[in-house]
């Protein structure tokens, strides 16, 4: 088999945006996010859903939307920062929007819980908007500090409803498009029927398909995808 051309390490990567997100039955969530950036909008939103439900995309998209109206948001991914010093949260209340992704990753760590509690109070005093995401609702996210747990449940809590099949197809097509890759609907359907339906895994698969199609100079067709799935 022809090993094909090795693709350059450069990837087309566009920032996550809310209008790229397939909301499906979660249109109310879009409205909540939009309202959060308006005058007198929700001061606090907590979004929860399983892994792969697009929480990080939503938070990054909201940060981008905030920037478009001239705000400087802070984005803090719980999984990445949990191993660092909680001093990272000092002064963060100066940002008008503070988005904390995978907040449950900070649960059970006494110093982080205290620091998050402190940030919460300072942010509310300053009138900053708070946006959280987690894999569980606040009450079962595993926080030991009851003061923090009750504060996380203060604002609107929204559970992401899973996408239906047609919406998932649309999502795959959009993920591919963000990479500059054209994915026909029948290919998206084919993938959904034969691969894990977990969106994170599908996104990784698309990333591989993107590299392979570039290396082999082939378009995304069912035979090509079938071949890749067989050889993975």
């Amino acid at each position: 088999m022809n090993p094909g051309q090795l693709p350059l390490g450069l990837e087309v990567r566009s920032p996550s945006r809310l209008d790229d997100f397939v909301f499906g039955d979660n249109e109310a969530l879009l409205q909540l996010l939009q309202r959060q950036l308006q005058e007198h909008g929700e001061s606090q939103l907590y979004i929860h859903g399983p892994r792969g439900s697009g929480r990080s995309h939503l938070l990054l998209g909201q940060c981008n939307a905030a920037r478009e109206i001239g705000w400087t948001p802070a984005y803090l991914p719980g999984g990445d920062i949990a191993t660092l010093s909680p001093g990272l949260l000092e002064g963060m209340e100066q940002y008008p929007l503070i988005a904390i992704d995978d907040v449950e990753r900070l649960a059970g760590k006494e110093d982080w819980e205290q620091a998050l509690f402190g940030l919460f109070n300072r942010a509310r005093e300053r009138g900053a908007r708070l946006l959280f995401s987690g894999d569980k609702p606040p009450s079962t996210a595993g926080f030991d500090l009851p003061d923090l747990s009750s504060r996380l449940a203060w604002g609107v809590t929204y559970r992401i409803k899973p996408l239906q099949d047609l919406q998932r197809e649309l999502l795959l097509i959009r993920i591919a498009r963000r990479r500059g890759l054209h994915m026909p609907a029948e290919v998206a359907r084919y993938l959904l029927q034969r691969h894990s339906r977990d969106v994170s895994e599908l996104a990784r698969l698309i990333e591989r398909l993107d590299r392979d199609s570039l290396a082999e100079q082939r378009r995304l067709t069912i035979p090509f995808v079938r071949d890749r799935l067989l050889n993975q």
Partner: protein
Amino acid sequence: MNTNTWDCLLKHLARDIPEQQFNTWIRPLQCVQNEDRLRLMAPNAFVLDWVKKNYLERLRSYLNDSGCIGAASISLEIGSAPRNEIPAAPSDGSAGVAVRSATSSTNSGAVSNGYGRPLQTADRTPAADDLPSTNQEFNFDTFVEGKSNQLARAAGIQVGENPGRMYNPLFIYGGVGLGKTHLMHAVGNLIKHNDPTARVMYMHSESFVAGMVKALQHGTIENYKRHVRSVNALLIDDVQFFAGKERSQEEFFHTFNALFETRQQIILTSDRFPKEVEGLEDRLKSRFGWGLTVSIDPPDLETRVAILMSKSLQLFNIELPSEVAFFIGKHVRSNIRELEGALRRINANAQFTGNEISVDFAREALRDMIDAQARMVTLDNIQKTVAEYFKIRVSDLLSSKRNRTIARPRQIAMALSKELTNHSLPEIGDSFGGRDHTTVLYATRRIAELREADVRVAEDYNNLLRTLSS
């Protein structure tokens, strides 16, 4: 001003760094350009060090090689770019206090970040003398009175009318989210209402500590002391967070004495009775008990309903039907914050769908929460949770043992079963080793009496109630 250089650098970095890292470390930096120097402001020392270690070289190389012209050098410092606008107050009365002057040392030059478009300032008491001020939304008009907070409210009004004279300090304690902070602000606002020149300072204990640490770092501790001791009323929230912070306790001890001796009012809140706050020096604990100590208990159903109806009007200008308020109140028992969270969720759904708020609508909006709670609140789970809490076995609860270490938890478990489930008294009795329904009735009455008379029983009961219903 010219912000193009920074924008140009951002474009280059966005291609190089994964999106999440870019948004965590680079995008929040605020840039001030002074002639040919880019000053990047980090919110704290940790971010500054991280950026310096991981990204500064790359930024400098872009400045030289990428065609991002307009600046010759880049420096990093802690601070924020000056700005004039803040977001309008959120819909819930959470502050939105006016942003004070920038923390960066100089304000000249180009500003490339900030809060952007002009928005209204929040409804806060003007902080003319730069005191962290009270939130006017939290006043006695919006504080719903019930059996659980009657005494605390009455004491608060007395203190507000006679600051520094009647009860000093006023110490308010109770579980999370029960309205301690609201009451504290209400007293502060009443003091200012009666005497607009009164200097009232509200601070969370964590802010007190942070302010002191910063003052120590900058060698301005004497100014800080003068500042805190110059007030007519000092309101410190959640004093339990002073635990283990010896230097802060020392400073607070002297502040307390200075204010007390000059008959300035002190108001404190905590999640527990002064003597039971662990990690606090005895001399502080004893001073905390010098004035009046009042508790706020979890609200009963009627009070929860009244709170919901009041909040609905206050937050959304909607008259919540009483049957809906009763429905929410029955399902959300843990604290007022969660009550408010549930109300917000229902209101958001109603706004989106355009539907009227009815019991069915509320049930649908809160369905996942109610389902999770139903899974949690079974007779078996109540017994298991109570047994774990008191470190006894479930079989002890079901046994015929009558010694107090077993009988009291059993009575509490029965009372919780009656409050949290719809099982009949005979069913509850049956599940506790085949006891009679009159035993259940006696247990619930006994626990109701003990919750009034014994702080420990009340605390145990409330802790268990919170665990089982949150």
